[in-house]
Symmetry: D3
Subunit: 237 residues, 6 copies
Amino acid sequence: MMRPSMRKSNQMRHVSLETCVNKWAEGSCLIKMGGTQVLCTASIDMNQPVWKRIQNKTGGWVTAEYSMLPRANGTRKSRDSISKDNRSAEISRLIGRALRSVVDMDALGRHTITIDCDVIQADGGTRCASITGGFVALKMAVQWLIDNGRITRNPIREHVAAISAGLFNGELVLDLDYDEDCNAEMDANFVVSEHGQFIEVQSTGEQHPFTKDQLCTLMDMAANAARELIELQKQVL
Amino acid sequence: MMRPSMRKSNQMRHVSLETCVNKWAEGSCLIKMGGTQVLCTASIDMNQPVWKRIQNKTGGWVTAEYSMLPRANGTRKSRDSISKDNRSAEISRLIGRALRSVVDMDALGRHTITIDCDVIQADGGTRCASITGGFVALKMAVQWLIDNGRITRNPIREHVAAISAGLFNGELVLDLDYDEDCNAEMDANFVVSEHGQFIEVQSTGEQHPFTKDQLCTLMDMAANAARELIELQKQVL
Amino acid sequence: MMRPSMRKSNQMRHVSLETCVNKWAEGSCLIKMGGTQVLCTASIDMNQPVWKRIQNKTGGWVTAEYSMLPRANGTRKSRDSISKDNRSAEISRLIGRALRSVVDMDALGRHTITIDCDVIQADGGTRCASITGGFVALKMAVQWLIDNGRITRNPIREHVAAISAGLFNGELVLDLDYDEDCNAEMDANFVVSEHGQFIEVQSTGEQHPFTKDQLCTLMDMAANAARELIELQKQVL
Amino acid sequence: MMRPSMRKSNQMRHVSLETCVNKWAEGSCLIKMGGTQVLCTASIDMNQPVWKRIQNKTGGWVTAEYSMLPRANGTRKSRDSISKDNRSAEISRLIGRALRSVVDMDALGRHTITIDCDVIQADGGTRCASITGGFVALKMAVQWLIDNGRITRNPIREHVAAISAGLFNGELVLDLDYDEDCNAEMDANFVVSEHGQFIEVQSTGEQHPFTKDQLCTLMDMAANAARELIELQKQVL
Amino acid sequence: MMRPSMRKSNQMRHVSLETCVNKWAEGSCLIKMGGTQVLCTASIDMNQPVWKRIQNKTGGWVTAEYSMLPRANGTRKSRDSISKDNRSAEISRLIGRALRSVVDMDALGRHTITIDCDVIQADGGTRCASITGGFVALKMAVQWLIDNGRITRNPIREHVAAISAGLFNGELVLDLDYDEDCNAEMDANFVVSEHGQFIEVQSTGEQHPFTKDQLCTLMDMAANAARELIELQKQVL
Amino acid sequence: MMRPSMRKSNQMRHVSLETCVNKWAEGSCLIKMGGTQVLCTASIDMNQPVWKRIQNKTGGWVTAEYSMLPRANGTRKSRDSISKDNRSAEISRLIGRALRSVVDMDALGRHTITIDCDVIQADGGTRCASITGGFVALKMAVQWLIDNGRITRNPIREHVAAISAGLFNGELVLDLDYDEDCNAEMDANFVVSEHGQFIEVQSTGEQHPFTKDQLCTLMDMAANAARELIELQKQVL
């Protein structure tokens, strides 16, 4: 049984990470995974978020916003529907949780870093690409804080990356593209830390329930893929 | 190591399901899991949803809406913030996916069933309670369609229930209440079918990454709990 | 001429008031008047409302919010239309005015009490039930302030209750249910104080103008009914 | 005891009605009651309202929209707060009910008449002035329909006018201006038909409860004033 | 070649400016240019705008808001569409820029003046009428500040007025009314200072490109017309 | 007197146009003018816009939407403020008018082409870059319609390009970058057709009024620059 993309079941698409793609942002990375392209920028605000100030909390914060350009997909979406899109808000929350999980908020000081993930072209796996590319932008912004004497200790504990996987035509496969994703029986997203532990597992079988064993196999595949992605992150940073 | 609720690690809170709690709705169920209370109603619209009609699709649809009353929690939330709450939208999508996964949309005919899950009192696990109670309301509404001669074949393939679990004080525990949830190192939600397969797994370790083995153990605990919940559903239907 | 509800013209429906129905709220009351059910909670904010602070005013404030659950009626309402509903806003203002009329704002201290009236099931007279039940929740919250040493003097001057009435099939009748309300020639709502005076009279004859004498007769009927409702309030407090 | 306006207790302010003040509208009237100025226009839509078409109802509809210009008052209001103003929505509903009460919707044919009441300058009693002036615009629009052969029978059954009254410094007084309204113990609005019956009575004693006798006296004063206002309407039409 | 309005190519419509048309506003002017009527009020806020305070800037600010009444045109516009109208926002920005260009913000002190331009009746050239009439209201408000001892030096450097022009039936004409505007091949708006210089030129040839010479001729015509308008402003101030 | 960019007064920045940058869109162009980068995509809808269908009009339509990514500027903008930004709406209208001015709507057939102009990086002149780049995307989409047999006749009458200019330090200069724009005494935007005529002239002297001669000189400079830009467009198409 062949995948439409002709890839082997545990084969990711070609991945590239380009840094310094925005002259204004304190960190930026354009990630391409096959046809998927996400522009990630990190913006530093020299303040805590309002809710931390009100609650008299210490330390900083990392947050993320994910959005599609209107023609990132085969069919144009109106900007109005994009700005009210619950799916985007859900993905933004996922990216934020993933990136915060590797940051020591006290070491970050009273700064807020916002990671914007704007999908230039979508072809499956955009939320995972956003996490992998967003981490690169985040790390550059943290380096900016260190270089500018705003903080003294590196608040990033370890790298983080994410990868999708699923059940397609009865086979467990890695990194689904758009065509595969549309026809998958079950799909999952894995956020994995540099030490090979899991930060988030989201697995949905709306079309088809799945077994514990299937999910466990996918977790192994995802851990291997994440290791490769983190290797790439280290090369460009 | 004791849980604040004094329960054993694999012990659910007391669960009750009361049906026919709304004189207008085609199906209704008030579910209580400890201090958590969710009022679930099923409303039948004798039409397909608009998007199905536009796309010329066959069959019906099941959708869900989850919301909190302003004082469901310790601190009052403004109605304005409730109506724009992304977390509620995310949970609504989860409940809808969970319920749709056990329904044959063609057998449902050109009807739309909306499951409203209004949290009267929140004490942890509200999204799981909404799925378990919402299924009861859904099944009553489907029975209404059969009793009124609108459909001939039962579109529900099997029962579905949901349960939370997590890592609390280093121990894997079932059905976290609010106090436990606030201090959990990792928490997860499991939607399980009558045949013991998984429809959705969501596991987050923002505070603490987790291992494959931990998630697999929780999946076993959740499968057992779901069996009990489905037994209760059958008793009241 | 018989009423659809078989009640005598000056007969109210069965009324019950249940307190302490919410574990978080400082006051709560579930009121049932026939098929009408309204959950009333009182939430204390340990501050003046923002507008009082800006204007440097003394004392506290009482405000109310009235809303329907989507399936409180025979036909489901979308949450979107509920949150923008002008009728609900108008009723919220009425409930707030009614409850404030019996409270000494200076004796209340710099606290804001919000009364949420969520209609679980609607069958006519929901705004009046909200006032009658909301007063119970309010009085409990005031007692909470006294018990917790936040205020020393009881700011509540007297009880308040409300009742609907109207012209149905040429007859002046009390406490219209949904079926009667739909076909009434004229309908009115009366907010009455413990001393038998009127705090608000709203009378509308869109279908049929009415005379001074008719309104005066209804005012007498309402005053009697309010006396009974206030008696019930005292029993549960 | 003198009123700030030096008027006798049952004395209205000077009232003027100017018609044909808008070259586009099918009916228009600028009403001035003392310092209060409201521009009323009637716009005909050659269709039923959407909700009537969906429900397959016969006849036409009359609706009203009340709004303040930003500087109609002593303090400027932002347009944003105006467009979300619940008080304006409540008054719009009142004006619509009042005008509909004298129109035979079937005789109006499948037309929708919208009465816009824009308060140019506010000095108390704007909602009552809107009803009195809005009726003039409405009647002109109805005449336009007759003159253009769109309808054959006059759908207006009788005139309607409105007037405010209240309790000021212990005295029952008519037609409160802004200064009096701010300090009134109780205030009321009366919509009265040409035959001297009541279409709407709204009476509020937030500062001070009131008695049945007080309201009955005000109803007599309002009926007399309405007779004068209707006389003026007839003069300009 | 005749204009529909029978005017000569460089002839404006009859213009009138009436001041003190609002008892509350610090400045007000009703401008009529043929069938176009705009009510301009100036409201003083005794504070800088928020954005100036945040940025620690000196001096005051002048801003403008332009809006249509629903029936200012041949067809009624819904208030909802008015409040979201991008064209109105664009015109508001134009009016604000035009008025600010003649004000010394430091001499204005820490005050914000808002010029509301509400179009009572539209018949072409409403944005230009708003600038010409708005300046009159602005100057009155500035005089109010001087008369009340809030500022000592007149912050207004010179008068400003605006006029439309365009290409109609191949002829360059001044001050287009609605009928001419609809059929113009090109139209332009000119904001001109008392010294005959230009503050804003907006020229659009969506139907028909235009030449440099055409625009230059229109600029001469506009400068002449502005001189007349400024003469009228001086007469009423 | 030197420009900060060291350019001569009539020297544009380096311009590049890259086509086919989006795999889904029917036309796409990434334009770079110095530090300004705008991604332009053309999306074809196989229908007339709704308003044309309702009004029974013939032919197609071209519309444009301009937006900034949150970190296109030195300071991050919130997505919320972006989606409500009046300046963006004003620019979108300008781009749409400019592109429509060279298209024969009847020859376009019943299609709607939407040009999305998303500013990836802003450094002055983004609206002009959007028009110049948007035209390239538009022309590619028109070619797509021809190649796919949807239309037979080329609806594009001529090329169109746009360029900014202004008065900086007393000197008339072309193509202002961000630093120059911030300090310009007057700035202008010119939309110029292939035949050297003007489609739109917008010139603002909020800081400083300007003379007819100054604007006329800028129009000559703009016409020359547009000729170069149109030459570049032809090279990439």
